[in-house]
């Protein structure tokens, strides 16, 4: 195995329980997004576009779906003879195995994997953020500033700063203090969960942290403070652009809607920075003469006979004649029957809303459904909303 300058490790084990029915059978990074992608396409494509071709994907919750999605990495051109993408579930030793105790523990458990490539730097990424970023610039800055660790930061609105891990920096962007969700933030530079470490330094901190009983084995809570305490050189790398943690149903819905304005902040049409994804092998979609589609994204294999407004249609979706779909996300191969009404809803993969059914209307609730408090109606996978059913806003329909 040839040695690699930089190995990327993507933390993709998150269960994402706040995404409700969306993550019932999928880890959060495997959740579909933006009409054809899955969330993990973003860090994987960023890696490829940044010239990093050795990537470990650390899975734990529902690893099989992610493993089979990533396959041999062809979609991201990461099917390489040397390097490429490796899916790494937690390792079971003879005495047993367990889930990673924290983000740092996940990397610690895979030290042998990293050492196989003998890298100078390790790039740590989250598998559940939506953004486009050239990590090679960050790596350049890391080298130029001779840092031991470089942490990507983004300016967040001051009023939201207390929801993030905040970096307090000196004037030359050196990090002097890290505060996790400070009540009174001194700064509005939030950590994006994107780290470059010089590998020998990180390795020694990980090894030290692993034997600590009091550590929660987390990068933000433990490793970074320990490195600051150890007087290592930590620098901030300022990122400007679209970045979103899609950790809740609301933020997931919002991030999809963000794509629908005429000039969205996240440009998916830039030929120099493509987001790669597994192709569904579907033909171009057809728009019938009865259809009307505005402010929407429509993917391949769709058949649209009805009205679609401010919505995202994934591959193979069917919208019947007279149906009205608004402010909604329709997952792959779902179908909306004729004259159905769908408002501010997320319709799961292969689910079917039969003709005349109404979702997200403030009318009476005819079908048993648990409740949700975002104003969004969420229908799980492979479900049928029978004809003429009416479901109120905020409903959650899922199989137990």
């Amino acid at each position: 195995m040839r040695s690699k300058e930089c190995v990327a490790m993507i933390l993709a084990g998150g269960q994402g329980s706040r995404l409700g029915a969306l993550t019932k059978k999928l880890a959060k990074p495997a959740v579909p997004f933006g009409g054809k992608y899955r969330i993990i396409d973003f860090p994987l494509s960023n890696c490829y576009n940044s010239g990093i071709n050795t990537v470990g994907v650390l899975t734990q919750y529902q690893p099989l779906a992610l493993h089979s999605y990533i396959g041999i990495g062809s979609a991201w051109d990461l099917d390489r003879r040397e390097g490429g993408v490796y899916v790494l579930p937690p390792y079971v030793r003879e005495k047993g195995g367990e889930w990673y105790k924290g983000t740092a523990d996940a990397i610690f458990q895979n030290i042998n994997f990293i050492e196989m490539f003998n890298p100078e730097y390790v790039l740590i990424l989250s598998g559940d953020h939506i953004y486009k970023m050239d990590y090679s610039f960050m790596l350049d800055k890391h080298k130029a500033s001779q840092a031991d660790a470089t942490i990507a930061v983004i300016e967040v609105p001051w009023e939201e700063a207390s929801r993030f891990g905040i970096m307090n920096t000196s004037e030359d962007d050196r990090i002097i203090e890290f505060e996790e969700k400070p009540k009174k933030p001194k700064n509005n530079l939030a950590s994006m969960g994107v780290y470059v470490f010089s590998w020998p330094v990180l390795r020694s901190y990980l090894t030290g942290d692993a034997i600590s009983d009091i550590s929660s084995h987390d990068f933000g809570k433990d490793i970074i403070p320990q490195m600051l305490a150890g007087n290592e050189r930590l620098c901030a790398y300022r990122f400007a652009g679209y970045w979103k943690d899609v950790g809740t149903v609301e933020s997931f819905w919002e991030a999809n809607m963000d794509l629908l304005s005429d000039e969205p902040a996240l440009d998916l049409y830039d030929p120099d920075w493509r987001i790669y994804s597994v192709s569904p092998t579907q033909p171009p979609h057809v728009i019938a003469n009865t259809a009307r589609v505005v402010c929407s994204m429509v993917s391949e294999g769709c058949q649209v006979f009805g009205q679609v407004e401010n919505s995202v249609l994934f591959p193979g979706v069917y919208i019947g004649e007279g149906a009205k779909v608004k402010d909604s996300i329709v997952m792959p191969y779902a179908s909306i029957g004729a004259n159905a009404i769908v408002n501010k809803a997320i319709i799961g993969r292969k689910s079917s809303v039969e003709f005349g059914a109404q979702l997200g209307v403030n009318d009476q609730l005819e079908q048993e459904a648990s409740r949700w408090f975002s104003g969004i109606t969420l229908i799980g996978e492979n479900l049928t909303v029978t004809s003429e059913t009416k479901i109120k806003r905020n409903a959650l329909l899922t199989r137990l």
Binding site: G35, L268, P284, A288, V294, C295, V308
Partner: protein, 374 residues
């Protein structure tokens, strides 16, 4: 799954009646149906039928074709053993006429055919676009103990009269081919040959060798037609939708037929998916002022204007107040603000700037050459 069959795609197909569209590319590389090239259909039919060793007789050199095929990865044909072979050709210039000299290329690639491991060979061109599984034809071939089985589509005699530049044949009651006509002006038969032939690989080698050594130059005439009496040649009917792309007008008409939901469904899904080179484009984007009806739209397109009865390939931009009617806009075409096109075919990378207008006739669409800016 036809594991015991090798595929051969013969691209010696005349493309005289395609005007500017085939200037830069062979017929097989013509963009079709919003994201494909013609050859994708035969390739996909082959792999969906379980054929994993495919040779392409390429009829000249074309970067359009070799770029499209690359390693064969998209069709899962990048293999150590078998896989996809773009066979070299000694042909220079465009293929013309009813009897292309394809036998030279068959003959110079005889080694490849000889050394393949499958018992049978299935030949096809690229211009008979359909979605077919070859298993039924294969079992028919075995059952009839045929030497050669050729696939056909039955037409009424009225329809048949309107065809031109095609190979037609007649069969006896038991399905045996008894008469064959290549490019007749007035046909007497009603069975249109799909130019797909199944036979024993050794027979194919013998036919090529025997024909070439007797001065033969054209496969269909010298290997098939001349042997109607010597060999048991059977016809097998194909009953699905056939889009035979043999002229520009036909290309335009068959493209428009894809807007019919039943035909869209059949051609893309009937017996398996159609694979092509993946371009990693984002889903199509409909902006606030978009008005689109009766159209086929590929990923990567961004639409702010009006589109009707049209086909937009990948990465097409239709600006505000632009109007696209009865037109085909290939990859990366751009319709400037307020521009209007009607009955027009834009080849790749064509741009019409703000306010300009182009109008052809439905029976004679205007073709704009690749890369043109208007």
């Amino acid at each position: 799954m036809l594991k015991n069959v090798m595929g051969l795609i013969n691209l010696h197909e005349s493309h005289e009646s395609f005007r500017e569209i085939t200037k830069h590319r062979p017929l097989a590389a013509i963009p079709f149906a919003g994201r494909y090239r013609l050859i994708d259909f035969v390739l996909s039919n082959f792999i969906n039928s379980g054929i994993t060793n495919v040779g392409i007789l390429s009829a000249g050199n074309s970067r359009a074709l070799s770029d499209h095929i690359r390693s064969g990865k998209e069709w899962d044909l990048a293999r150590k053993r078998d896989g996809l072979f773009l066979l070299p050709s000694w042909q220079t210039g465009a293929v013309q006429g009813s009897f292309p000299s394809d036998l030279t290329d068959f003959f110079s690639n005889l080694d490849y055919i000889k050394s393949s491991r499958q018992r049978f060979a299935l030949l096809s061109g690229s211009r008979a676009v359909c979605n077919i599984n070859y298993e039924a034809a294969y079992y028919y071939h075995l059952e009839k103990k045929a030497d050669i089985t050729v696939l056909y589509k039955e037409y009424t005699s009225a329809e048949a009269k309107s065809l031109s530049g095609v190979t037609m044949f007649k069969t006896a009651g038991d399905g045996r081919v008894v008469d064959m006509e290549i490019c007749p002006v007035n046909t007497h038969s009603s069975k249109l040959s799909l130019e797909m032939y199944l036979m024993d690989r050794h027979l194919l080698v013998d036919l090529i060798d025997a024909s070439v050594s007797r001065g033969g130059t054209n496969f269909a005439r010298d290997c098939i037609m001349k042997n109607i009496e010597n060999l048991k040649i059977y016809g097998f009917p194909f009953n699905g939708y056939l889009a035979r792309i043999d002229s520009l007008q036909n290309y335009f008409n068959h493209s428009m037929k894809l807007l019919t939901p039943e035909i869209w469904q059949e051609i893309f899904f009937a017996n398996g998916s159609i694979y092509t080179k993946v371009k990693d484009e984002a889903p199509a984007k409909y902006q606030r002022d978009a008005v689109v009806t009766s159209s086929l739209v590929a990923n990567g397109s961004v639409i702010a204007g009006n589109v009707e009865n049209s086909i937009l390939f990948r990465g097409v931009k239709v600006h505000k107040d632009a109007r696209v009617s009865n037109s085909i806009v290939m990859q990366k075409g751009e319709i400037g603000p307020g521009a209007v096109i009607e009955n027009v075919i834009f080849d790749k990378d064509v741009k019409i700037t703000a306010g300009k207008k182009l109008k052809g006739e439905l029976n004679h669409p205007i073709v704009i050459e690749k890369g043109t800016v208007i």
